[in-house]
């Protein structure tokens, strides 16, 4: 469990990125932080592995204040996946995946064997192991990034807009992969995105943030849609524009769900 207690971050130039945030991130679930740029979502994420230190309040992992843990040790125990994959361009795929285990002092052979298994886990062919990152497609690089994040079998996986830079088709594919993986592995995933559809698709809990690092609402997608906390949330999720309003019409005796524009979204079961 990750807990933010009254966390504030003010940068030296005076801008407040995160303002007095309290959230509990439940274990083995996916929590999505969503908001437009400048809402402090990435800052919040990066406080968990101490890439950013708060100027006020505490961040606790399983009851331990992260400020008391050596940042390097902390980071080596937490998976991190970022937008551009962040792979080291001068190392082969296999060495990229094995980076953290090697940093932790595992033997090269064991780390490589494990890295190959991880390529299977994220759905990459083992023949890609000897390629360099630049020789992979964007989607493949992102999968390698996920494999690297999982390399030390962390309890916590931080994902900072990991699918932001790939095309929509590949993104949809990667989202499904992540759902499958999460079903198998059950990690505590903290996921940052600016795409509300992605948030609703992936999140067990969705945290909606607004400018200045304020939390507007933290709840399950269904609850947010049912009871948006305020007009900002309603606007952000598109409920007020009727974008999410679905209604049922009968077509040849079957009940079809249709969205606001009259496009068929699905058929009601039963």
């Amino acid at each position: 469990m990750i807990e933010f207690r009254g966390v504030t971050k003010q940068f030296p130039d005076g801008t407040i990125a995160v303002h007095d945030v309290d959230i509990v991130i439940p274990p083995r679930k996916t929590t999505v932080l969503v908001g437009s740029s400048g809402s402090g979502k990435t800052t919040l994420l990066r406080m968990i592995n101490r890439m950013v230190d708060p100027t006020g309040g505490q961040v606790l992992i399983d009851g331990t204040d992260v400020a008391t843990v050596d940042p390097v040790k902390l980071r080596r125990g937490i998976g991190y996946v970022m937008q551009n994959s962040g792979l080291l361009p001068h190392r082969k795929v296999i060495d990229n995946v094995a980076t953290v285990p090697l940093l932790r002092g595992e033997s090269r052979r064991a780390a490589h064997a494990h890295a190959l298994e991880l390529l299977d886990t994220v759905g990459l062919d083992r023949s890609l192991a000897d390629r360099y990152p630049a020789q992979l497609s964007g989607g493949q690089q992102q999968r390698v990034g996920v494999a690297r994040g999982l390399a030390v079998d962390p309890n916590i996986l931080l994902m900072d807009e990991p699918f932001g830079a790939v095309d929509p088709i590949v993104r949809a594919e990667l989202q499904q992969e992540l759902l499958r993986l999460q079903g198998e592995l059950g990690k505590t995933v903290v996921f940052v995105t600016h795409d509300i559809d992605e948030a609703f698709l992936l999140g067990d809990q969705v945290v909606i943030m607004q400018q200045g690092g304020l939390i507007s609402q933290a709840a399950s997608p269904a609850e947010i849609l049912a009871h948006p906390a305020d007009s900002f949330v309603a606007d952000f999720v598109g409920a007020d524009r009727g974008k999410r309003a679905l209604h049922v019409t009968e077509v040849d005796g079957r009940r079809v769900v249709v969205d606001a524009d009259g496009r068929a979204a699905g058929v009601l079961a039963s």
């Binding site: 991190y80 551009n84 080291l88 361009p89 001068h90 953290v100 940093l103 360099y132 020789q135 690297r148």
Partner: protein, 247 residues
Amino acid sequence: MNLFLDAFAWLADPANWTGPGSIPQRIAEHLWVSALVLVIASAIALPLGALVGHTGRGREPAVMVSGGLRALPTLGVLTLFGIWIGIGLAAPVIALVILAIPPLLAGAYAGFESVDRRTIDAARAMGMRELQVVGKVELPLGMPIVVGGIRSATLQIIATATLAAYIADEGLGRFIFAGLKTRDYGEMLGGSILVILLALVIDGCFALTQRVVVPAGVRATRTAELRSGPTRSRTIVGRPNTEGNQE
């Protein structure tokens, strides 16, 4: 063309190849002084440049120092140290070190700075210590540019070491100044040819080294970029610091 004949005659004269002040001895001196200066200047400038490139702090002063020192006329610095310190190797070595610092400093900070900030960020997020970020990420990725700086510094040292023969009994420049004094164009030109060959051979060695130190994955990036057009706003040129105050 008979000027070249004079030079070849001088080069071919066996008397010039043995004894004190012979061609082999002067070449050895030239190389020894150059190597000594390169080591001292590198020990000062490379760590400093790496620190500036790594932290991003002190960039403005570093740019000013490396730019400002380039405007210094080398002959002026040499003669000034010559009359301050007197005859011997100390004066030219100190002057040469000062003149070699700008390209080394510029190469080191430009090399470290050229590394994609997002790659460094990722390395840190994985839990690399600062020294590991420097050694495992920044150094290998910035190496081609750092070596480029060492290359232009070395060329400059070799050139200035030639000129340093004006104030000290050292190196291949001795032949040029001896020839100037006795109006022996063959000796002057012969000495010049030797210096030019020495510089070109060493430059060739560096060109080769620079190719070797490009990490394989980065080479893959370059070919991928050629195929798909530029993806980065900032192009990294192999030899960015060759300009300025040569000789």
